[in-house]
Structure formats: structure tokens, C-alpha cells
């Protein structure tokens, strides 16, 4: 009888590891850019193509860089949260409009609301490469010295905002 129980025992061990594994996040490989100066960029504004924004302009304040696109469905999930966050005035949010078409992007913002101080365009994804973007949306917390302190992969959620992003911003601003 006992030897017939062996497969079951092996399976139980396997299940234990799988159950623990579910709580882990293999994708959250810590970004090598955390604690490093944010890659410098200068690019055109989405709303006013004549003007540009340089990342150094934001030195001295804590800010969020949110990578978004109108073709990205997950961006819609986090968008209401970003709009709310922008209204609260806690932290300025800058958008990086990633591999998008300007007319579609503008239409998208007018439909869902525009939480961004400004959005800069990255039609070829060059800035995205510097930042190591591998899925949209992604959000970076950048401190007063222009150093990346946190990277949120995937949509911002209420949980990630309350547990990680907002306390971190408070600490950095203080």
C-alpha cells in the first residue's frame, strides 16, 4: 500500500512549491536602472509638436514618468487612477507616448482624460530602449536628483499605489 502512495506524496511536494511559486513574481527582475540616473531625453510634446521637453528640466522635483500608448488596452485599466492621482496634485505625471500615432493618442486623451503635465512622443521607441521598456504600461518614479527610484511594470493598481508608490513619493519629497 505505501509504495502506491508515493506518487501522491511526490505530487503533494510539487503542489507546495507551486503554491509558494504563485506568490512570487518571476517577472519582477529588479531593473538595473533603479538607483541610477534616469536616461536623459529631449523630445517633442504631443500637444505642441513645436516645443520640446528635456528630462533635465525636471531636476529638483519628484516626478512620475508613465509610458503609455493608445493601442495599449492595459493602459486603460490604470488610466482612471492616473487621472485621479493628477487631480490630487501629489506628484506631477509626465507621459511618454510610446510608438503611437499623434492623432490617435490625442483622441485617446480627449476620450479618457489627460493626467499628464505634458506627454512627450517616442514614435520609434528610442527613449523606451534607454529606459528598458519591455511592455506598456510602465511607470517610473524619478527623484529630485533625476535618479530612478522605482519601476512599476504593468498597470498601476490601487494596491501598488498605496503600498509602494505613494509612500515612496512622500519619502522622496520630504
Amino acid at each position: 500500500m505505501t509504495r502506491f502512495l508515493l506518487p501522491l506524496a511526490a505530487f503533494i511536494v510539487l503542489v507546495l512549491f507551486l503554491a509558494v511559486g504563485l506568490g512570487l513574481k518571476p517577472r519582477e527582475v529588479p531593473s538595473p536602472l533603479i538607483g541610477k540616473p534616469a536616461p536623459v531625453f529631449q523630445s517633442q510634446l504631443l500637444h505642441e509638436p513645436g516645443k520640446t521637453l528635456a528630462s533635465q528640466d525636471n531636476l529638483g522635483k519628484v516626478w512620475l514618468l508613465n509610458v503609455w500608448a493608445s493601442w495599449c488596452v492595459s493602459c486603460r485599466e490604470e488610466h482612471p487612477l492616473l487621472v485621479e492621482l493628477a487631480k490630487s496634485g501629489i506628484v506631477p505625471i509626465y507621459g511618454l507616448n510610446y510608438k503611437d500615432k499623434p492623432d490617435l493618442a490625442l483622441q485617446w486623451l480627449s476620450q479618457y482624460g489627460d493626467p499628464y503635465i505634458v506627454s512627450v512622443v517616442d514614435p520609434e521607441g528610442r527613449i523606451g530602449i534607454d529606459y528598458g521598456v519591455y511592455g506598456v504600461p510602465e511607470t517610473y518614479v524619478i527623484d529630485k536628483n533625476g535618479v530612478i527610484r522605482h519601476k512599476q511594470i504593468g498597470p498601476v493598481t490601487v494596491e501598488s499605489l498605496e503600498k509602494k508608490i505613494l509612500p515612496l513619493i512622500k519619502e522622496l519629497q520630504g
Binding site: 511559486g21 493601442w71 488596452v73 511592455g135
Partner: protein, 674 residues
């Protein structure tokens, strides 16, 4: 409206699956004929509603209904129609719907082709399949509803992952799933046998063709996946030991063991509990594969946002299905008995050894696949296990297995003599050693590993010759062709599948030993030479596809100064997602592939171009096809076909088939018309 209809059909299918999973099983246990009789019509009803649900999803994709979340995320109005249909199963939700749809298709097949099985048996088998179906439909409805709306509707969809926009990808997942799901039949037969306590040769005979068909689908599915990776990913490899690939390979290894073990159980009555355990394992690994791919516990190329609720659901489902089957196994299997006895040297013992080797190989692959997860769980750091581990473990395990593969078919059942076997195979061994030593010189350079790989392949081929020669010698009077025609299909099917392994090994060995690869900067008009071929780069020009823009390279291939063909690899950028894709150009040949992929553009129209010369690479997939064809031949064997001609199966005597044990074969492939 249509998505809601689909949702409603899915709910009705769930209710029917619940009925199917409970009443017939209880009816079989208590002997209530009307409950037993429910099994077949309920299965067919469930199939109809799942077909409606699947049709509704496909309809939403075809008509670009971006108010359905699943469509908005995985399709685009520019997407060509065939990929819009394929996108129905390109997503997580859609692929699970395909999973249950196929499960119900297999159930219908069982309900139709089981006219000659005892009704209680059919009720139990279909009941078990119904329970599996309940789990999956619940999973769909609770955590992954493909019909969820997105309001307000999106103007445009984010497009199907460009990697999946390929003919190979259109048929690869259905094939693979047919294999995965097909093992549920073998599983259901095994559970039904445990429930009823009847485990005899007849039981093995019934489940054997189903297992073989599932194995054939899985073989073709894996082959298509590997072939797709080869021509679509653009770096020329054909197997990467990626967790998702391993997830499909694990059930294949165990399924292969199961196919062989079933043969022993049918013909000799031995290995019963082992066969049942293999049937449970094969299906469990199919479920585990689904869990690994769909829950996000392992890093893979698949879905981005994985929902932890899904992972918990599938894990709970795994625990219920696999845990209760193994518990049932531990409870019932000790009473099964041992079946026919056999000696240490016999066909049984060789098959058992092969079975164990396959299982150990499966165990090692599973360990390697889960090792990163285990290390991470124990907080020992994030690591990844790569091909070197798998190759180091897999090859030494498969070497004795392949040696036995040559011996087994020649050994006698029950008791074989080792000296006699050695005597009979000495020429086969000598010929394969000499050929293996000499062949690499023909290829241009002697390499020990190549010689070793070829030895395994030639050993298989040589023993097949010996086996057939001997068989013909012993099969009475007549000319060569009369004798050849006298052998059963199942005999040929075995050798054909084994030959497939040999062809596969030749392909793997030669491409690993002699492939050449160059990553070169090519100016317009410059050339690169490789394997006797000269490649001349004529520049790249822009082209537009339906939903992408591309730069298409133009490369002339010359042999001895003569132009033999033009190759046009592309570098595509998909409009909606902005994803860049490499579309290599491949010149396929019997003895070699030429493979050209575009790298990065440089100044003045120059490009980085990757050029490969891959000898014998297509033999890898050809070998897989031979294995699959062997399986097809096996299920069309005379003893299964017999009933097509003679509908009164019970009266039929299967005089020419000496292996028939107590019961006559009851599986009919022509039962539908009967």
C-alpha cells in the same frame, strides 16, 4: 448580443457538464440504467453548446467587435481574416475555450465509437471527462471569461501578437491541445477501470487506440511548434528548452511510455497498475503544462498581465483532479494483481526499462523546468536553467533507451536469451558501428559526438532490418511481397515510428555537428560564402503588408558562380503594436537548409545579415512526421478496422490475430453507421 449568447451557451454547457460528471458515475455505481443512459446524450448536448460558444467568439473576432475585451486586446481591423479566426484561440481565454471545446469533441468521439463497450464503462469514462470539463468551464466563467465586455468599446484593437500571425501558429495550438486533451480519454479509461476494479486486457485494448491518437496529435503539435520557432523567431534554433516547450514535451515523454506500457498490458496482462499510473501522469502533466503556461509562475514568452486568481484556481483544480486520482490509485491499485510473469531478459523487462528511462527523463525535464521556481520559493535567488542542463541530462538517459529500442522488438515475450539475441544482432551492431565511424568523413570532418549520434540512429535502422528479415523468414511460404503483405499494420507502425526516431537523431546530430553561422555586415553588392554557397546582398527596399511595414532584403544565392535562387528576408514593424519582427528567408532542401535573416540596418543601405547553412535540419521534423505516421498506421490496424466490415462484432472471430486474449476487440471505428 452575440457575445451574451456565447456566454449563455457556456453556462448551459457547464450545467450539462455537471450532469455528465455526476449522474452517470453514480448510476454506474448503483446500477441505475436510466442514469447510465444519460451519459451519451448529455455529452453530445454539451458539445453543441460549446460549439455555439466557440462560434460566437469567432464571430466577434471576424466582425471586429472591439466592445469585447478579448477581441480588443487580441485583434485589429487590419488583421487578415485567417488570423482573426486564429486570434479566437490566440489569447488566454480563447485558448481555454478551445481546450474545453476539444475536450467535448473527444467526449463525443468516445460516445460515438464506444457502441461495443459495456454501458457502465462508457458512463464512467464520460463521467470522468465531464468532471474535467466542469473544472475548465468554471475556470473560464469565473476568472477568464472570453465574452467580457469593454465599455465604451475600443476604436481599434491592439492586434494579435505578431509572433502568432503565421500559418504555423494557426494550426499549432489546436494540434497541441488535441494531444493534451486527448490524454484525458486515456485518463478517464484509467479512472473508470480503478472505479470499477476491472483492469484486464480488454481495458488496455479499449484505451490503446485513443492514447495513440492523442500521442499522434501531440507529436504533430510539438513538431509544428518547433518548426514555427525555427522559421519565425529568426535565430535558427529549433528547440530552446523553454518552460512552455517543456510543458508540451513532458506529456509526450510520459505518453510515449504509456503507449508502450499499454501494449504490454494488452498482450501480456502485465504492468497494469504501472499503466494506470502512466495514464494518470500523462494527463496530469497536460494539466500541469496548462497551469505553468497560464498562471505566470514561470517566466515565459506568454501573456503579460497574469491574474493571481487564475493561478490559484488552476492550482486548486490540479489538486482536486490529480490528488483524488492518485488517492484512488493508492487505494485501488494494490488489489489489481501482477499479471503475467516474465524473466529478467524478456521483451517485458526491456519495455519496462525503457518506460523507466522515459519517466526519469520526464522527471529531469520537470525538475529543470521547475528549478528556478523551487530556488525562488526557498529564497535561494533567481536563477534560470538553460539548455546545457537539459542536454547533459537528456542525452545520457536516452542512449540506453535507444539501445533497448533496437533489442526490444527482437526479444521474445516472457523469456528471451541474451546470447541468442547477441548472436542475431551481431551484424546489425557491426554494420552500425562501422557506418557511424565512417559517415562523418563523408561530411568532411570526423567528430566523436557526431559519430556517437549516428551510431544510435544506424543501430535503430539496422535492427529494424534484422527484425523484418527474421519476421519474413518465419512467416511461411510465398514471395517477398506476399510475405511483406502478410504482416500486420501494427507491426509496421512500430518500425515506422522507430525509424522516425532514427531520422530525427540523424537530423539533430548532423545539424549540431556541421551547421555554420555567420553574422556579417553586408554592403550593397558584397558577398559572403558558406558551405559552398555564395550569398550576394543587393540591398533592401521597403514593402507594405496588410498590417505591417517592412524592409525586404534581396539576396542572390550562387553555387559555382551560377545564380540558383533569390532570397528575400524581411524585417517587419507591425502598425498597431509597433513590434519589430524578423521574417527569415529559408531555402529548404533534402540535405540542407539555407537560412537568411535581416539584422539591423547600418548606414548607406548596408545591413547586418545573419546567414546559416544547416545540413539535414529538416530531417528533425521529417522524423517527427514518421513517428506520427507510425501512430496513425497503428490505429488503422486490422483488429480495429475489422468491425467496419463486420458489424456484428460480438460474433466475429479474430482468427488471424493470435494476440487476442479473452475478449474480442470491441472498439469499432465504424460504429457510427452501425
Amino acid at each position: 448580443m452575440i457575445p451574451e449568447l456565447g456566454n449563455f451557451a457556456l453556462i448551459l454547457a457547464l450545467l450539462l457538464a455537471l450532469t455528465q460528471g455526476t449522474l452517470p458515475i453514480i448510476g454506474a455505481a448503483r446500477g441505475i440504467p436510466s442514469w447510465i443512459a444519460l451519459a451519451r446524450p448529455v455529452v453530445q448536448g454539451q458539445f453543441v453548446f460549446l460549439a455555439i460558444a466557440f462560434g460566437c467568439l469567432a464571430y466577434s473576432f471576424v466582425n471586429n467587435d472591439f466592445s469585447v475585451m478579448n477581441v480588443a486586446r487580441n485583434s485589429n481591423s487590419e488583421l487578415p481574416i485567417q488570423y482573426r479566426i486564429a486570434a479566437s484561440w490566440g489569447s488566454h481565454e480563447g485558448s481555454l475555450l478551445l481546450w474545453v471545446f476539444m475536450l467535448s469533441a473527444w467526449s463525443v468521439a468516445v460516445s460515438v465509437f464506444s457502441r461495443h463497450l459495456p454501458d457502465e464503462m462508457v458512463a464512467r469514462v464520460l463521467g470522468v471527462m465531464g468532471l474535467v470539463s466542469v473544472g475548465f468551464i468554471l475556470f473560464l466563467l469565473v476568472t477568464s471569461n472570453p465574452f467580457d465586455r469593454l465599455l465604451p468599446a475600443a476604436l481599434e484593437g491592439s492586434d494579435l501578437n505578431p509572433l502568432l500571425q503565421d500559418p504555423g501558429m494557426v494550426i499549432h495550438p489546436p494540434m497541441l491541445y488535441m494531444g493534451y486533451v486527448g490524454f484525458s480519454v486515456a485518463f478517464a479509461f484509467a479512472i473508470a477501470a480503478l472505479l470499477s476494479g476491472q483492469m484486464d486486457a480488454a481495458w488496455a485494448r479499449w484505451s490503446r487506440p485513443w492514447t495513440t491518437v492523442a500521442w499522434v496529435f501531440l507529436t504533430i503539435g510539438i513538431m509544428l511548434g518547433s518548426w514555427w520557432a525555427y522559421y519565425e523567431l529568426g535565430w535558427g534554433g529549433w528547440w530552446f528548452w523553454d518552460p512552455v516547450e517543456n510543458a508540451s514535451f513532458l506529456p509526450w515523454l510520459v505518453g510515449t511510455a504509456l503507449v508502450h506500457s499499454l501494449a504490454v498490458t494488452e498482450k501480456r496482462g502485465s504492468f497494469k497498475s504501472w499503466t494506470v499510473l502512466l495514464a494518470i501522469c500523462a494527463f496530469s502533466l497536460s494539466l500541469l503544462g496548462t497551469f505553468l503556461v497560464r498562471s505566470g509562475v514561470l517566466t515565459s514568452v506568454h501573456a503579460f498581465a497574469t491574474d493571481p486568481a487564475r493561478g490559484i484556481f488552476i492550482l486548486a483544480f490540479l489538486v482536486i483532479v490529480i490528488g483524488s486520482s492518485l488517492l484512488l490509485f493508492a487505494w485501488r491499485a494494490p488489489k489489481v494483481g501482477l499479471g503475467g510473469k516474465f524473466d529478467l531478459v524478456s521483451r517485458e523487462s526491456m519495455l519496462l526499462a525503457n518506460n523507466l528511462l522515459l519517466m526519469v527523463a520526464a522527471g529531469s525535464v520537470l525538475l529543470g523546468t521547475l528549478y528556478p521556481l523551487i530556488m525562488d520559493s526557498l529564497d535561494l535567488g533567481k536563477i534560470s536553467v538553460g539548455p546545457p542542463y537539459f542536454e547533459a541530462v537528456f542525452v545520457p538517459l536516452m542512449t540506453p533507451a535507444i539501445f533497448l529500442m533496437g533489442l526490444g522488438p527482437l526479444a521474445r515475450w516472457k523469456q528471451a536469451s541474451l546470447p541468442e539475441l547477441m548472436l542475431r544482432l551481431r551484424w546489425a551492431f557491426g554494420v552500425s558501428v562501422v557506418t557511424a565511424l565512417l559517415m562523418p568523413f563523408v561530411m568532411g570532418e570526423w567528430k566523436p559526438l557526431v559519430s556517437f549520434g549516428l551510431l544510435l540512429a544506424f543501430w535503430i535502422i539496422a535492427t529494424i532490418f534484422v527484425s523484418i528479415r527474421q519476421r519474413l523468414h518465419n512467416s511461411g511460404q510465398g514471395g517477398l511481397f506476399t510475405k511483406l503483405a502478410r504482416q500486420s499494420r501494427s507491426y509496421y507502425s512500430m518500425h515506422l515510428a522507430h525509424l522516425g526516431i532514427a531520422v530525427f537523431i540523424i537530423g539533430v546530430t548532423l545539424v549540431n555537428g556541421y551547421e555554420t553561422e555567420k553574422d556579417v555586415r553586408m554592403e550593397i553588392g558584397s558577398t559572403v560564402t558558406m558551405g559552398g554557397y555564395t550569398f550576394r546582398f543587393n540591398g533592401a527596399s521597403p514593402v507594405s503588408g496588410p498590417n505591417y511595414q517592412a524592409m525586404r532584403g534581396d539576396i542572390d544565392v550562387l553555387r559555382n558562380g551560377e545564380k540558383i535562387r533569390v532570397m528575400q528576408p524581411e524585417k517587419r514593424t507591425y502598425n498597431a503594436s509597433g513590434m519589430a519582427m524578423t521574417e527569415p528567408a529559408i531555402d529548404t532542401g533534402f540535405l540542407r537548409d539555407l537560412y537568411v535573416a535581416m539584422g539591423e540596418p547600418l548606414e548607406d543601405g548596408a545591413w547586418v545579415v545573419r546567414v546559416y547553412h544547416k545540413p539535414f535540419v529538416d530531417w528533425i521534423w521529417f522524423g517527427c512526421l514518421l513517428m506520427a505516421f507510425g501512430g496513425i498506421l497503428a490505429v488503422t490496424d486490422r483488429r480495429y478496422r475489422l468491425k467496419v466490415h463486420n458489424k456484428h462484432a460480438e460474433n466475429a472471430t479474430v482468427a488471424d490475430d493470435k494476440r487476442v486474449a479473452s475478449n474480442p476487440p470491441r472498439l469499432s471505428t465504424g460504429g457510427k453507421k452501425a
